[in-house]
Symmetry: D2
Subunit: 309 residues, 4 copies
Amino acid sequence: MISANPLFHGVVPPVATPLTERYEVDFPSLTRNLENMIAAGMHGLFMLGSTGEVAFHDAATRQAILEHAVKVVNGRLPIFAGVIDPTTDRVIAHAKAAKSIGVDAIVVTSPFYARTSQGEIADHFRYVREAVDLPLIAYDIPVCVQYKLARPTTVALAREGTIAGVKDSSGDDGNFRFVLMDCADIAGFFMMTGSEILVDTALAMGAHGVVPGLANVDPHGYVRLWNAAQAGDWATARREQERLCRLFEMVFVASGRTSAGSAGVGAFKTAMRRLGIFATNRMCRPQQDLNADEAAQIDAILKTAGLLG
Amino acid sequence: MISANPLFHGVVPPVATPLTERYEVDFPSLTRNLENMIAAGMHGLFMLGSTGEVAFHDAATRQAILEHAVKVVNGRLPIFAGVIDPTTDRVIAHAKAAKSIGVDAIVVTSPFYARTSQGEIADHFRYVREAVDLPLIAYDIPVCVQYKLARPTTVALAREGTIAGVKDSSGDDGNFRFVLMDCADIAGFFMMTGSEILVDTALAMGAHGVVPGLANVDPHGYVRLWNAAQAGDWATARREQERLCRLFEMVFVASGRTSAGSAGVGAFKTAMRRLGIFATNRMCRPQQDLNADEAAQIDAILKTAGLLG
Amino acid sequence: MISANPLFHGVVPPVATPLTERYEVDFPSLTRNLENMIAAGMHGLFMLGSTGEVAFHDAATRQAILEHAVKVVNGRLPIFAGVIDPTTDRVIAHAKAAKSIGVDAIVVTSPFYARTSQGEIADHFRYVREAVDLPLIAYDIPVCVQYKLARPTTVALAREGTIAGVKDSSGDDGNFRFVLMDCADIAGFFMMTGSEILVDTALAMGAHGVVPGLANVDPHGYVRLWNAAQAGDWATARREQERLCRLFEMVFVASGRTSAGSAGVGAFKTAMRRLGIFATNRMCRPQQDLNADEAAQIDAILKTAGLLG
Amino acid sequence: MISANPLFHGVVPPVATPLTERYEVDFPSLTRNLENMIAAGMHGLFMLGSTGEVAFHDAATRQAILEHAVKVVNGRLPIFAGVIDPTTDRVIAHAKAAKSIGVDAIVVTSPFYARTSQGEIADHFRYVREAVDLPLIAYDIPVCVQYKLARPTTVALAREGTIAGVKDSSGDDGNFRFVLMDCADIAGFFMMTGSEILVDTALAMGAHGVVPGLANVDPHGYVRLWNAAQAGDWATARREQERLCRLFEMVFVASGRTSAGSAGVGAFKTAMRRLGIFATNRMCRPQQDLNADEAAQIDAILKTAGLLG
C-alpha cells in the first residue's frame, strides 16, 4: 500500500514537552518520554510540533530541547524539528539553528498572524528551502494558521522539490487523498496524517506515516496499528484504532471548561504523569492545567484502554 | 463626546515600516514618516502594529525600530509599542525590551497559533501586565489571531485595571459600543478604533481615539476629521471621512492578485513612495510588492483625493 | 443628511408575529401590535421578516398575515412583505401572492440552502424583479443565508434598477457606507440598516431608514431617535440610542440556554406580552419559548428603560 | 464489517432531477435514470436530496417527482424521500405528502435560515418523527444548513429511536466514526456517508451505506466498490475508489466560473447528457448551466474513466 521508498515513513509522534511546576523544561521527563517512544518502536520523532507547545517556547528553549533530543536519541531514529513562527525570515532563523543541532528534517507551517495568499504561501516554503538544506515537511494545520494548503499549492511544491512531504492536520481527508494520488509518482515524497482517530483509513488510502499526539500516551498501540496495516490486516488495524479512539476521548474531559488546546495536550500530559513518564501535567502559560477531578476521569479512560491496572 | 481625561486619545497611527530593496529597515525613510506624522498633528504613534509588519520582524529588528522612533520623536508624542507574538512569555520578553527602550505603552493581542479560551486570554493579559509596569492596550484583531475579545473579558480586564485601553480592529462596532458604555465610568480608560472608514461614527459613539493605517498616507485628513468631531461638526467630519473612504480604496487595487495583507499595507507603502516619504514599496517576505500597473492606479486615487497635483 | 427623495425612508420595523399557545397566528394581538406601531409614528411596516419568523410560516399562513396587515393598516403606511424562501421560483410564487394582496414592496434575500455564486445571486434578484412588478428590496442577512451581498453585486443591481433599496443586516457597516456612497446619485434608491444598536451612526452616514426588531417593544424610542437625527441633533440621537442599547440587552437573557434566534425574537415577544401587546410569548417550533425566570429578567430591563412603572 | 441487520444499507444514490430546456421536470429522462440505477444494482434510491435540487422544487413538483419514482420503481428498491425545508411544520407537511405517496423513509435536515440550538435541532427531529410514522434519516449537511449535528445530539436521537439512520455529508469523518462506535449496539441503526471520494474508508470504518451523487454518472463503479468492500477485498475497493476520484474531478471543471453547487450537480447532469441518460444539462434557476467548453472537458474525464469510447 506504500509508495516505493518514501524519504520517511511510519509512526512519528509529535513529542510532548514536559514542564516543571515552575514552567521550565523538565529534561529528565523528556528523556523518559523519548526512551519510552524509542523502546516502543517509533519510526521517527517530531520535536516542537503543536503537541510540543512549540509556539510557547523562545529560540533558546527550542534549541535546548532539540539539543537534548539529538543527544538522547543519538541517531537511533530520525528527528523532525518544528520550526514554527509567524513569518519567513523568523522561520529560517529557527531552521538554521535546528540544522546546526543536527536534526534530519524541518517542519514548517504556512505563515500566520500575517494574511497571505496561496502564491505567498508557496514562496514562503521556497524561501525556507533555499535558505536551509534539509528535507522540508509542509505542516498543514489551518486550525492554528487559518489557511488550508490548497491542493495545487501542495502538488506544485512537491513536484518542484521544495517539500519532501506533508504532515496533514487539516481534517480534510478528501484533499489528502487527492494529493496522495497526484504525487504518487514523485520518488521519496511522503504524506503523513496528524489524526489520532483516522489512522487506519489514512494508511488504507496510502499514507506513508502518522503523527499522532496520543502516541505519547500509548506508543505501542500505534505501532500495532501500523504493523497490522503494513500486513494488510485491516480488521486488526480497525480494532486497534477503535481502542485508540476510546483512549483519545481523554481530550474531551476538560474541553468544556478550558480551550481545545489545553484540554488536548493537557490530557496527554495528565495521562503521562499517571503513567510515570512526566513529573507534572503543567502547561505553558496562559494555558490551564487539568485539575484533579479531570485527572480522575482520565485515569478511568486509561484503565478502560488497558493502560492502567 | 469624550470621557473625561482618557489616558491617551486622538489620532494614533500605526506607523508603517519602510524597507530597502534588500529587505532591511530603511531608517531615513522611517524618520521622514515620523516627522511627517508629527508635523501633521498626530496625538501619538503606534510602532510595530500590523501595519508596521510586526509579525515579520525579529526581536533585534523590533528593538532597533523602537530605539530609532524613541530617539526621533524625543518625547514630542507618546509612543505605543506593539509587543506581538504568539504566547505570553514571548510577549513579556518583547514588552520588557520595549519598556527599557522607553515607550509609553504596550499593545498586546490575544495569543495566536495556540488555541485558547476566554479565561486563558484574560490570564494572558494579566501575566503581561504583572510582568511589565506600563499601560497595556488590548489589541482586538480576530482577523489575525482568530479570537474575538468577548465583551465580558474586555470589561473585566478594564475594571480590574489590567488594561488601560483597547485598540479595536474587530469590525464589530456593536460590541465596541457596548464596551464603551460598560466602561464609561472607568477613569482614564480609552477605546480606539482601528478602522479607516468608520472613524466619524466611532467618534460619535464616544471613541477616544483612532488608529488608521491610512494616516501614513494622509495624516492631515485624519486630523481634520478628529478636529471636526471634537467641535461637534459632524457634517464636516462626514465629508472628510467620505474623502478618506475614497482614498482608502487603494487597498483594493491589488487584492485580487495577492493577499489582503499585501494589498493593504502594500498600497500604503506604494502611495508613500509616490509622495516622497518612502524610498521603496518593498514588503517583508513572503508578501508581494505592488507592481507598476498597480502603482499607476494608486497614483490616480491619490490625485482624486487631492494628494497629488 | 438624506438623499433627495428616497422611495421609502424612516423607521420601518420588522413586525413580530404573535402566536396562540396552540401555535396559530393570534390576529387580535397582531392588530394591537400594528396599531401600536402606527400610533407611535412608524414610517412603514415590514411584515414577514426574520423577526416575523417568516421561515416558519407556510404560504397560506403568510398570505393570511399579509391580508390581515393590509386590512388593518388600510393605506396608512406602506407595507413591505418579506417573500423569503430558498430559491428563485419559490420566491416568485410568494411575491406574486404578496402583490395580489396589495403590499407596496417586496423584500428578498439571496438564495439559501443552495450554494450560489455572486453571479447567480444577482440573477436571482433579476428573475424575481422581472416576474413581479413591485419595488424590490434586497435583504442582506448572511447570518441566515451564509452569503454576503458583495458591494459590486449590490451596486450593479441598484444601478440597473433591479433593486430599489437594501435592508442590511450584515453587520458590515464599512460595506454599508461604501454602497451608500456608490449609489448616492441613484434617484429614489434607499439603504436601511437592520441594526438595533448602530442606528444613530447609520443615519449619520446617510442611511435612509432603519428596520429594528426592537421597535416592536419600543417604537417611540426609535421615532425619537429618527427625529433627532433628522434635526441634526446627534447628541440627543446618541442618548436615545444608548437607552435603546440597554433595552436591547434583553436578547442576551436566554442566549446561553437556547439559540440566538429564540433568545432574540423570544425576548421581544416576552416583553410585548408584559406590555399587553401580545397574549403569549410563544415561538414557532422548534424554537423554545423564554421561561418565567427569563421573563422576570426582561421585566427588570423594561423598568430600567422606563417602559414599565 | 457491517452491523447486523441495518434497516437500510448499500449504495443509495441521491437521484438527480432532469429538466427540460424550459425548466420543467423531464420525466422520460428521470425514468431512464431510475432504470439505469436499478439495472446497475443499487440498493435504494434517495429522491429529492441536494443532488436532486430539492430546495428548488415547490410542493407540487416534489410530489410529482415522488409519484413518478414510486410508480417507476414499483417496489423493486426502497425509496428515501428528502423532505427538506427550513422549519419543522413545513417539513412535516412535505413528510405527510411523501408518506401518502408511498416512500419507505424520509430524510430530514436540521432547520435552516432559522438559527437554532442543538436542543431545538433535536426537538425538530422529534416533532417530525411524532407526526409521520416512517423511518426518519437525519441528513447532516452543514455546508447547506450551517449547523453540524453534534455527536451527543445524534447519539441521543438514535438511542431514543427518533432517527433510524444518518446520511452524513459533513465531511467530519472523525465524528462519523465516533457515532458509528457509539451506536454500534442499536439494532437496525445505520450510517451512510454522502462522500464520493472517501467511500472505501467509510465502509472500512463500518458505514452501512453510501449516498454518492456521482453514482448518477457511474452506478456500476459504486456497486463494484461496495461489493469489494463486502468481500473484504480492500485493495480492489481502493483501486475502484481511486478511479471514481478521478471521475469526480468533473465537479471542479466549472467551479472557478460559477458556484460549487452549479459546478457539482451541473457536471453530473452534463455527463449524463453525454451518456444519453438526460436530454439536457439544465439547472434550476438561478443556477448556471455548464457551457460547451466545460462539457468538452467533462467528455475527456468520462473517457479517462472508461465511460466513453
